[in-house]
């Protein structure tokens, strides 16, 4: 085991507090992941990434910085990775899925806001996330109010750039989003000192598309009735996609998919015959938030897909690769990204259609709508989603929860009752 303490120290981390995190994570991971039966061999790579999550990848970021490169943090699937890569920077999606950071977040934020926002703020304030500590700049967006205002607080701790995301999808909103992408391009060029050329951007677009295709391939394998991989494992892979080296991630994920497709041919399954298939829909699940998946999959059902930002919203729709001019590519980016159906938008009928379509594609027996506590947009949007699902004859269960352990028993009962109901 290489010693990363020196590196962590250099990043200005609170080592003592960080130790506490290092102490509990392997156990949590072991209990949730390593006890699963019949896991694909290809999961070894992701085990490796988790084991080295605060080690090797941080070292890679550091090496990049040593050579004058920049690291940029993002929090939302609307922020185009393509530009970050084209500027020669490394983008990391900042995970904030742990109760561990809530207390520190609540030092500066009100208690009754979404745990995701409290957690990422707490992670920065407490200096216990080496990814956050490695960032030269973070890119926020004006999605929900909680995030919008949190940027103002975070800006005291790290250079924070905010993209103004439209909240409607009219012609002029697409234009505006393209302008925002241009502004981000300027900002990234200034930060890195690199010019984003047409060629570099085109390469980055192709790279990100390849990553999306690898994830699409993974999710396609989950459409099989004999599931070659658990929902938990698939979720983990989506989560890792946010911060791993893209080329390596694509290679390893495609290798895993070879194995999964082979399993489907041979009928090797991780699920029991007749286990219920569940589609998750709702707010993002950042590492190490595996709570709902774990509850569902230990209650005898399987998660077959996630209509979330750590799921289909991250990789559905590719960026059109035909344009090669700057204007053309920026427009292609704006078009692809603004197609994402997040509850921050109004109206948001597209999301209802997505959920129904996904439920059918993945042959789901029911939908579990999961919203983080105090996430107004997703909480409110449930009313219409519920109506649409009922009309389509798809059973749905609503769960509002945070990262804590307190409500696990309650949720377990609800999930089990839901499974009994659709059984």
């Amino acid at each position: 085991m290489a010693d990363y303490r020196e590196l962590w120290q250099k990043l200005g981390m609170d080592l003592e507090k960080h130790d506490v995190l290092c102490e509990v994570l392997p156990q949590l991971y072991g209990g949730i992941y390593l006890n699963q039966e019949n896991r694909p061999e290809g999961m070894n790579y992701y085990n490796f990434v988790v084991a080295e999550v605060h080690g090797l990848r941080i070292k890679e970021l550091d090496d990049h910085k040593q050579q004058g490169g920049k690291v940029v943090g993002t929090f939302c699937v609307f922020v185009p990775d393509e530009l970050i890569l084209a500027a020669g920077a490394i983008g990391v999606g900042l995970c904030a899925g742990s109760q561990f950071w809530i207390e520190d977040g609540e030092k500066v934020l009100p208690r009754n806001i979404c745990p995701l926002v409290k957690a990422f703020t707490g992670a920065k304030l407490s200096g216990t996330c080496p990814y956050f500590q490695s960032c030269d700049m973070i890119i926020g967006e004006t999605t929900c109010d909680a995030k919008k205002k949190a940027w103002e607080i975070l800006d005291d701790y790290v250079d924070t750039y905010v993209m103004d995301l439209p909240q409607m999808k009219r012609e002029k909103d697409y234009k505006k989003w393209a302008e925002e992408i241009y502004d981000l391009k300027d900002k990234l060029e200034k930060l890195t000192g690199n010019v984003i050329t047409e060629e570099k951007l085109h390469d980055a677009i192709k790279l990100c598309n390849r990553k999306r295709m690898a994830l699409q391939r993974l999710y396609n394998a989950r459409k099989a009735l004999d599931l070659p991989i658990s929902g938990k494992d698939a979720l983990l892979i989506s989560q890792i996609a946010f911060y791993d080296n893209p080329e390596r991630f694509i290679e390893m994920t495609n290798a895993l998919c070879d194995e999964l497709e082979d399993r489907i041919k041979k009928g090797i399954a991780v699920n029991k015959k007749g286990s219920k298939r569940i589609l998750i829909s709702g707010t993002p699940m950042a590492v190490p938030n595996w709570k709902i998946h774990h509850i569902i999959e230990t209650s005898g059902a399987m998660v077959v897909a996630e209509e979330t930002c750590t799921g289909t919203r991250y990789f559905e729709n590719l960026v059109d690769e035909t344009p090669t001019t700057m204007d053309g590519m920026v427009k292609a980016l704006a078009d692809r990204y603004l197609k994402i159906n997040c509850a921050c938008f109004t109206p948001n009928k597209g999301r209802e259609e997505d959920i129904i379509r996904l439920a059918k594609e993945y042959k789901a027996d029911g939908v579990i709508y999961n919203s983080l506590q105090f996430c107004h947009t997703y909480n409110i949007e449930y009313a219409n989603v519920e109506k649409a699902l009922k009309e389509a004859g798809i059973p749905v269960l609503f769960i509002e929860s945070d990262y804590s352990n307190d409500d696990v028993g309650q949720i377990q009962t609800r999930v089990e009752a839901f499974l009994e109901m659709i059984g």
Partner: protein, 83 residues
Amino acid sequence: MEYDYYILFNTHTDGLNMAKRLKESNIKYTITPTPRQLSKCCGIAIKYEHEDEKAILDIIDKYDIKVLGLHSLERKNVDIKFI
């Protein structure tokens, strides 16, 4: 009492090297985070089946893989607590 068996390493490169050799020899293994009881640092370990120990020692010898040793740990049922 049941035990789990782990190989520990100095660096992840050694660990990955080992994993590669195990795969070639069709020996079942799992890469895991190093159990805290065995170390203070984050990092990787390889979990293996006890019956493969002899073959594993041979591989270590043959390819001169640097390991920090083979360890066993009593298997405990831990309650999962989300953090």
